[in-house]
């Protein structure tokens, strides 16, 4: 199922499909290690805090992404 990162479920492996952000934000995300095709794990449901993810493909540290930006990142996951 395709969905944006903000609305995606937590504790489920998500595949990054597209980053529809502006050039600068996109470049920032890429340089911090978020690429199309990478698998990420989202830690938190929609809350007051930013979206918290970890790139499973890279075994990266956690990355906090503001909600508005998270809405622009499309991901895919397998519905159980």
């Amino acid at each position: 199922m395709n969905i944006n990162l903000l609305d995606a479920p937590s504790n489920t492996e998500l595949e990054v499909l597209e980053i529809n952000a502006g050039h600068k934000a996109k470049a920032r995300l890429i340089s911090m290690g978020l690429h199309m095709g990478d698998k990420v794990l989202k830690y938190n449901e929609n809350s007051w805090c930013p979206v918290l993810i970890r790139n499973v493909t890279l075994n990266s540290a956690k990355i906090a992404i503001g909600k508005r930006l998270a809405e622009k990142i499309m991901v895919r996951y397998e519905k159980p």
């Binding site: 050039h23 600068k24 934000a25 996109k26 470049a27 920032r28 995300l29 890429i30 340089s31 911090m32 290690g33 690429h35 199309m36 830690y43 938190n44 449901e45 809350s47 007051w48 805090c49 930013p50 918290l52 790139n55 493909t57 890279l58 075994n59 990266s60 540290a61 956690k62 990355i63 906090a64 992404i65 503001g66 909600k67 508005r68 930006l69």
Partner: protein, 640 residues
Amino acid sequence: MKNPEIVLIGQPNAGKSTVFNVLSDIKAAASNFSGTSVEKFENDITIDGRVFHVIDLPGVYSLNPGDEAEKVTYAYLSEKKIDLVINVVDATQLARGLELTVELIEFGIPMVMALNMWDEAERKGLKIYPEKLEGFLNIPVVTTSALYGKGIKNLMNSCYNTIYNGNRPPAKLEYTSHIEENVGKIEKALSEHNTLISKNGSPRFYAIKAIENPQVVPETILKSIHDILEPIREDIRQTHKKDGHETISYERHHISMKLMEETSHFIDRKTVPFREKVDRYLLHPILGYFPLLAFFFLFFTVIYFTGNLLSDLAAVPIEKIPGLYAGLKSNHLFLWFTVDGIYQGLEGAVGIVLPYFLPLIFLMSVFEDTGYLSRMAFMLDGFMHKIGLHGKSVVPFILGFGCSVPAMYGVRIIENKRDRMLTAILLPFIPCSARTTVILAMTAALTGPLGAMFIYFFVIFLLAITGKILSLFMGKATGLVMEIPDLKIPSLKVSISKTRMKMKQFLKFAVPFLILGSIAMAWLEYLKINDIIDNVFAPVVKGIMGLPEILGSTLVFGFFRKELVLVMTNTAFGVKSIGEIPLSPEQVLVFVVFVTLYFPCFSTFVVMWKEFGKKVVFLSSVLSIVVALIAAFAVKIVLL
């Protein structure tokens, strides 16, 4: 050969500053908190009788600079004389770290890799084979654990050998054939035009960058490839269905992934590590606020009580000193005023300021290394949005509790200009260690701990209101993208060394200021000039704030260093300890609120001017004075 120039480059949190500190016995501000190093630090070190000039540059995720700190690194790398790069790579983030390594290899300066936090990577289940990595990259790879000083000697030996015993050419890490073909065309054109003479960096590096991100390529180079570059970028866009930046980034990502697969493997772990369990609690959207509140409470409580204890201990020997020069008062009045000025300055520095400053800088050093501060930024992002900022502004704000000067430099990590300016304007509202000393010392002596808590909450409330109002005129904040580094157990040795370094700076720069200020105040008193200053400020001090006129001149001195206010207040009232100051608890609160909020100190003023220009300094100064006056007046109306 002149002293070789060695530059440390790595991604944020890779441990560059820790490597640098171990090399130079603690000089830079290192922490487990991205964005702590936002300016370059340098030092001469000696190995086997040879002197090396080592430079620690701000962390960069890639050679596509995004924020001001990254621009500093990129500019240095491309313009300055460099003999060797130490690429510090966080072994726990190997794949991502290798993306920068690939770029640095393309750049073409002799390089040694420090594979840092090597032990941490194994603990996290990543087994790396450094000899394989060395084989693939054809550069020396040295494993280090800088926090514990491990591997640093080997690293420097490797640097020594690379500089003096010959550098081997690094491996050529190839992109797909279509990209390579186009890079080759640009490289050829660059070689023909000979436009790279004044720049560091190989033709291959600039050829790749011209496709990936022409904005970072110097104009002279772009001019020489103007005719072929656009058709090449268009061809890549058509063929790869992505622009040059994305195409190169993805290909570099795949090169790094492949390198990682070839040189390491994951060991399956069945259980969630303890630190990860703790982290889930610290970052929990509801439960995470409890440790956050506990942190603030404990932080200031420990400083408050430790400061009180140390202050009482210091008072016993200090109070005996005035008796030694009391005889001067009858025969040599000017000399007595001068000696008493020196005493007041010393008494203020050792008996009042230092007892609170010491626990504060020690605790800051410990907490910086744990990685908890970036978790605070995460938890407070929602609140920051309400006041027109985002979580990344928490980074300089928290640094601001230590000192506003490095915090002002810390604003560089914020990418967006609007967010940077607003953060800088609000930053002087955060009570730095000097103002914390004033708050805690005065409230401890005259109002009790509730007074200190009131001031902190009131100041944060004012910061929020001011931010909200300013953001109405400045538009919305941009979104947050921030790395949350892994939690770490701080090294007591490193924390003590960092505290010692900050103490040295305090003794070197602040104490002379306190003594000279105190002498000046004593002379003003002797010449009765302070009466003139007090009269000038009387409408504000007495009229608006309801305080004795005598405090007017102390506020003038507070501009130079905020701790001076404490010393000057004692001198102005002619008392030997804060407890003897003839102010009511309510007056103390009014006075401390004003002192905390009005105008940043002289050093902050200078750095702010340098970083943001006179307009921002002017705006910030006027704003802080207006807010300080309104706040002090409001407290007076309510309490007096």
